[in-house]
Every structure is written in C-alpha cells, then in structure tokens.
C-alpha cells in the first residue's frame, strides 16, 4: 500500500464516520472504494489496458448513481464519476497513440483530485443529515444549521428521475 492509498483510506474512514446513518452516502462511498480497489489491483498486477478497466468501473458507478439517485446532491456524484471516466478514456487513447498522450503523472494527479472531490462531496453531504436532525438546544450546531439551510436545495429530490418520460 502506497502513501496515496493510505491517505485515501484515511479519508474514506473519515467520510464514513461523518456520514453515519446516511445509507445513500455510505453506499456511494463504498462503491467508489470498490472501484478504486479493483482498478489499483488490476493496474499493479501488470495486466494490459488498466485505464480501460478503471474507466469501466467508474462507468458502472455512473450508471448506478443515475438510476438509483434520489437527491440533487447525488447527481453531482454522477458528474464526478463521469469526469473520472473521461480522464481514463483520454489517457487510454493517448497510450494507443490515437491522440497526444497525457503523462502518467498528470493522469494520476487528476484521478487523485477526482477521488478526493468525491470523498469530500459525499462525506460532506452525508454529514448534513445529523446536523439537520440535531436538537435546537445544541448550540454548537447553530452555524452548521445556517450552512445546511443555505445548501438545503441539494437535499431536495432530483429534478428529473431516470427515464422521466418513460410513461409517455
């Protein structure tokens, strides 16, 4: 396990800890962790076309989010994983000389940033749940309640569910 893996694992544990009770946040966090684990294990086993496998793992999460998401904040998770799929496709095309190649360092850094963005976004939104449910006399949560009110639109149901015109 490298330092990057360890720091991501710590970030995952923190995100899981702050979003206890929010099953949706836990689901997306664990799905992301599973995708990362499969991608990294495949990459380190030395098998070919690792970016393709990483992209497919993220694509599966994208579809899962699109079909299972209920709230607006979850649609941002969909966008974050879409970005990850796109980066993997761009890197894969570069390794096949289909277009100018992206350096491996740039690829890794961008993917790390995307992973951290996903952790912060899902963990942050998962942490909103207990803040909103805390007792009014719990004064320490007062500034957080204001923040929650400001961002409450993110916790409303998503504007258009998957295949919203399916009945037509």
């Amino acid at each position: 396990m490298t330092g990057v893996d360890t720091s991501l694992l710590i970030g995952l544990c923190l995100a899981l800890a702050v979003s206890v009770g929010d099953k949706r946040a836990w689901g997306w966090l664990l799905a992301g962790a599973a995708s990362y684990t499969v991608s990294v294990l495949y990459w380190r086993s030395g098998l070919p076309y690792a970016p393709f496998v990483a992209g497919m793992c993220d694509a599966l999460i994208c579809l899962a989010v699109y079909f299972r998401a209920k709230y607006r904040w979850e649609m941002m998770v969909w966008r974050i994983f879409q970005a990850s799929v796109l980066v993997n496709i761009i890197y894969l095309g570069g390794t096949l000389n289909a277009w100018p190649s992206l350096s491996h360092n740039a690829y890794s850094i961008i993917l790390e940033l995307i992973n951290w963005a996903a952790l912060l976004w899902i963990g942050g939104n998962g942490a909103f749940q207990p803040v909103g449910e805390s007792d009014a006399s719990f004064t320490a949560a007062r500034p957080l309640r204001g923040l929650r009110r400001a961002l409450s639109a993110l916790h409303e149901p998503r504007a258009t569910p998957a295949f919203h015109k399916a009945g037509r």
Binding site: A59, G93, A98, K165
Partner: protein
C-alpha cells in the same frame, strides 16, 4: 468458414456495444423507448462506419485495439448525433 472475419466482426460488435454503453453513461436518454432506438442506431453505426473512419480518416493501424476503438468512437458520436437530431426535429413546429 472465415474465422478471421467472424473475429473481426465480434471485435467491432464489442466496440460498438462499448461505445453505446459509454454514451449511456454520458448522455442518458429521456425515455426507455429512446434508449432502445439509440442503442440500436449507435450499434449499427459503429458496425458500419467504424472501419471506414479508422482507415480513411484517422489512419489508425490494422490492430484489434483500433478496430474496437474506432467502432466505439463512431457509436459514441452517433448516439449524440441521434439525440441532437431528435431534439431539432422535435423543436420544429412546421409552417402555421
């Protein structure tokens, strides 16, 4: 039996399917009916136009990775083109 031709066809089919799958990830259609039509359209486009694109325009070499990639690229683009065409046709009201 031409096993090479069959294998090439299977690779192209796989590429077209992958292209349609990726297109679904980036641009999900609004209805299930649209999903089936777009998938069929993208798949057919990838199978038909993947090779011409690779040979004539992109000049990619004759290897299975490039057969797959060109079919996927065509399927991906045709998904978006089909969606845009449907929106344009849907927006046209006709003469009053």
């Amino acid at each position: 039996m031409d096993w090479t031709g069959l294998l090439v066809g299977m690779i192209k089919a796989l590429g077209s399917g992958l292209g349609a799958f990726l297109a679904l990830v980036f641009q999900p259609p609004p209805t299930t009916r649209d999903l089936f039509i777009r998938s069929a359209f993208s798949f057919a486009s990838g199978m038909i136009f993947g090779d011409p694109l690779r040979e004539q325009y992109l000049k990619w070499p004759e290897r299975w990775e490039y057969w797959l990639a060109s079919a996927a690229l065509v399927a991906l683009v045709s998904w978006a083109v089909y969606g845009a065409a449907i929106r344009i046709i849907g927006a046209y009201k006709g003469p009053k």
